[in-house]
């Protein structure tokens, strides 16, 4: 709750402080029209924006004698961004033309605090209503299409204008543009909505503008554009007294289409084409500025070039400055801005260079020229800037030291983005390798399978070949280590259950030393094997009797010998056998 009070008090403080802030800082007056070309039956929306004030003012507007004026209301705007307060009043008027022609509206004048402010002026063209609109005036819904020029030069901006008229309720509008037949249609971002009077009937109009672009010349038949929609109709009730009878609506699908239009695209004339012509079509201007015009040697001046105009502004070229003796040039990234206006694309391209003269003297900069084709006059034009002079005075003498030449060459160069002039595909592969099949392609599937299976196969062969050898090696190793294993086991044997463990260890010794598979041998078998392995009969007999004694002790649980003594005799016997057994 406390926080809410804080917020409210903060807002109040802001409003109390408002009169103190300077909101009249940017007082100004502008006139804006929603369209600059209309027919006799249309209306234009004119907005007079008075910025920097919140008080009601009544501007006087010149040039309205050719229009019937209807007020459309006033709206005020107030904003505060980063502590900067701005306010404005928008006054809207609807203008209905009285006659055809080209008229200039403005400037508007307003008196604020004893000071008179003047606005810009705008031009509007009023034409007769096209015949196809009048012909369709009996329909509740219809659509028209027109071109800004029926004949244009390649590169010239042509607008394809679609106007949808409706006097009933419609929804779910969908436009189906004609199929491309060598041209492309791109819808402009903004569409216009206004009312129009056709033969005394009021229609709402949606105007959609498209830019038509093509790279081909000739005559194009632009097929009709179709508008699909759902028309809302009141549901008729069978019960005449029903209160909901006319309340619900039905949506009926409906479509309307324009007439086909014809466009002729002419090629640009070859005669008198300037050598530096880059395909720019429209009306352009070029301006150059050098700042400052006088500098000491070693310091820099800024050269600015600006191309602006209307037409295919995206083709505005980069101006190249020829190399100048004793002047180093550092170019900046060009800045291009393009705007969509009802009369076409307008744009500006700004280029900047830093000029660093290395020597004092007078330098001539420019002139810089630009060539374009003007479709109005149907002629190429080359415009130039005026020649500029740069005066370079002697720089400050620095008592230092020669700067190594490497430093100058290592100055960071401003990089330029490499752009395409045009786009096309790369040529065919006509070298002989184009026909050569790769080794992979030449191989059959079974070749590939063999290549894949060959390494594991080799591994398998190696494994099989060396398996036996490895096994024998292991057995020999086990035989060699048999006695040391026996000694280790005898030393770690628990004294309480020592005799069975001793017998087990002794049997294990025989298995390991004689490289046998495993299992327990009888004393007689042991004697036989030992004799076969080259052990003397006495030692074999001694071994047998020791085994018999051990087994008797294990199975009867009684032994007449001391455990430690037995352990020693097993150890000694093992030592003798280990030495005596061959292999």
């Amino acid at each position: 709750m406390k926080r809410i009070y804080l917020h409210i008090s903060f807002i109040l403080v802001i409003f109390l402080l408002l009169p103190v802030t300077n909101i009249n800082a940017n007082t100004g007056l502008t006139i804006q029209l929603d369209r600059t070309e209309i027919s006799m039956s249309d209306s234009i929306q004119m907005t007079i924006k008075v910025s920097g004030t919140q008080s009601a003012v009544r501007p006087r507007v010149g040039g309205l004698q050719n229009f019937r004026v209807q007020s459309g209301g006033t709206s005020s705007n107030f904003s505060m961004v980063n502590g900067q307060v701005s306010s404005s009043i928008d006054q809207t008027y609807y203008l209905y033309p009285k006659r055809t022609g080209k008229f200039t509206i403005g400037p508007a004048e307003v008196n604020i605090n004893g000071k008179t402010y003047r606005s810009n002026h705008v031009s509007v063209v009023v034409k007769n209503q096209p015949s196809d609109i009048s012909q369709q005036s009996h329909k509740p819904v219809f659509i028209t299409a027109s071109l800004s020029n029926s004949k244009a030069y390649i590169g010239q901006t042509v607008f394809y204008k679609v106007k949808f008229y409706y006097s009933i309720s419609v929804r779910d509008l969908g436009i189906v543009l004609p199929e491309s037949n060598g041209f492309r249609l791109k819808q402009l971002e903004k569409h216009l909505e206004y009312t129009s009077n056709v033969k005394g009937k009021q229609y709402k109009v949606i105007e959609i503008n498209h830019v038509l672009s093509t790279e081909k010349t000739g005559t194009f038949n632009i097929d009709p554009t179709m508008m699909k929609m759902n028309i809302l109709e009141r549901q008729k009730s069978s019960n005449r007294f029903s209160m909901f009878g006319n309340f619900f609506t039905n949506a009926r699908p409906h479509s309307v289409q324009t007439q086909a239009v014809k466009l002729t695209i002419l090629p640009l004339p070859d005669a008198n084409r300037p050598s530096d012509f880059t395909g720019l079509v429209g009306n352009f201007s070029i301006q150059a500025q050098l700042d400052p015009k006088k500098i000491p040697s070693g310091e820099s001046a800024t050269l600015s070039l600006q191309i602006s105009g209307q037409g295919n502004v995206q083709l505005m070229p980069d101006i190249n400055i020829p190399e100048m003796k004793h002047i180093k040039l550092y170019s900046d990234q060009p800045v291009i801005s393009i705007n969509e206006t009802p009369s076409g694309f307008t744009g500006q391209k700004s280029m900047k260079w830093a000029l660093v003269p290395q020597k004092e003297g007078e330098y001539n900069i420019g002139p810089f020229s630009l060539s374009f084709f003007d479709p109005k006059t149907e002629k190429y034009k080359t415009i130039s800037t005026s020649k500029m002079n740069l005066t370079v005075t002697p720089g400050k003498k620095v008592a230092v030291t020669t700067i190594p030449s490497q430093i100058n060459s290592s100055l960071p160069q401003v990089k330029k983005e490499v752009k395409f002039f045009q786009r096309d595909i790369l040529p065919v592969h006509d070298h002989a390798d184009a026909l050569t099949l790769s080794i992979f392609q030449q191989m059959a599937s079974w070749h590939k399978l063999i290549i894949f299976l060959f390494p594991p196969f080799i591994y398998l062969v190696v494994l099989l070949l060396f398996f036996r050898k490895t096994r024998l090696k292991l057995e020999k190793l086990a035989a060699k280590k048999a006695f040391s294993k026996l000694t280790k086991q005898l030393n770690t044997t628990d004294t309480e259950k020592n005799i069975p463990e001793m017998l087990k260890a002794f049997n294990q010794f025989f298995n390991d030393r004689l490289q046998l598979e495993g299992g327990t041998l009888t004393p007689d078998e042991v004697q036989n094997i030992l004799t076969l392995k080259g052990i003397s009969n006495e030692l074999a007999l001694e071994t047998k009797s020791l085994l018999i004694n051990l087994e008797a002790a294990v199975y009867t649980g009684q032994s007449d010998q001391d455990v430690n003594k037995l352990k020693n005799s097993i150890s000694e016997l093992g030592k003798k056998l280990d030495k005596g057994i061959k292999g």
Partner: protein
């Protein structure tokens, strides 16, 4: 014995002669096609390139050249089709990538993002042959280090074994996935300037949407003269078979180097 020897020598001689004659024919057709292209007679160039491809030995460059010819004839759909076929053989060819990008920019329909399995975009950068050589090297390395380790077990051989095992697994998965992608590739290109996709395999069925030349669709089953196609997740329907050509036909799938 002597007769058998004469027969073998004679067979080798005749066989090599036939092979040389066939290669000569291919080269001749190739030269003719290139000349026709240079003169601007693109249809003759297409016929000659097609003749070489039909001989059963297609190469990525031949498909690329075909794509160029169709592009020059303003047949964007066919150009895309042949460039996509060339991508199966020479996906890293810079000329092909440049031209394909250029032609794709001219397609009217906006491509909608599709979800595909994560490896696919990486695998698209490699041809099946390069993956085969990769798996061959990894295979030799993997089994070789196993053999080495039978005789010499050391730290370096252990780490080499671990590294090669990982590479071997990656190569195996990559090759198998690529093989699967090619085998199940059902993409088709719209070659007609416009095709209407309907709700069913009949002219009287509702029109759902239309697709334009060069657009790639996923092709599914066919019924009569109609094929079920999928453009994106929510856009599928039936289009005329004559308007769509599969990038990898079943016949081509057999001829592909897999």
């Amino acid at each position: 014995m002597k007769k058998i020897l004469i027969f073998i020598v004679g067979f080798i001689f005749i066989f090599s002669h036939i092979v040389n004659a066939k290669n000569g024919e291919r080269l001749n057709a190739f030269v003719q096609a290139n000349k026709a292209y240079a003169k601007g007679d693109y249809q003759t160039a297409i016929d000659q390139y097609q003749k070489i491809i039909d001989s059963g030995k297609p190469t990525g460059s031949l498909y690329y050249n075909m794509g160029n010819c169709y592009f020059r004839q303003d047949k964007i759909g066919w150009a895309i089709l042949y460039y996509e076929r060339a991508m199966q053989y020479i996906p890293n060819d810079p000329d092909l990538q440049f031209n394909l990008r250029h032609v794709r920019n001219q397609i009217e329909d906006q491509v909608e993002k599709k979800t595909s399995f994560p490896l696919k975009s990486t695998l698209d950068k490699f041809s099946i042959s390069s993956l085969f050589w990769f798996i061959t090297i990894c295979n030799i390395g993997f089994w070789g280090i196993l053999i080495i380790r039978r005789f010499h077990r050391s730290e370096w051989s252990y780490y080499t074994f671990v590294g090669l095992s990982i590479l071997w697994t990656i190569s195996l998965v990559s090759y198998s996935s690529k093989w699967y992608i090619i085998k199940t590739d059902n993409r088709g290109v719209i070659v007609a300037s416009k095709t209407i996709v309907r709700a069913g395999p009949d002219e009287r069925e509702t029109k759902l949407f239309e697709l334009h030349s060069g657009t790639i669709v996923g092709c599914e089953r066919q019924e009569g003269d109609w094929r079920l196609v999928q453009f994106s997740q929510g856009k599928r329907g039936w289009a005329k078979i004559s308007d769509i050509v599969l990038i990898i036909t079943k016949d081509k799938q057999r001829k592909l180097p897999i």
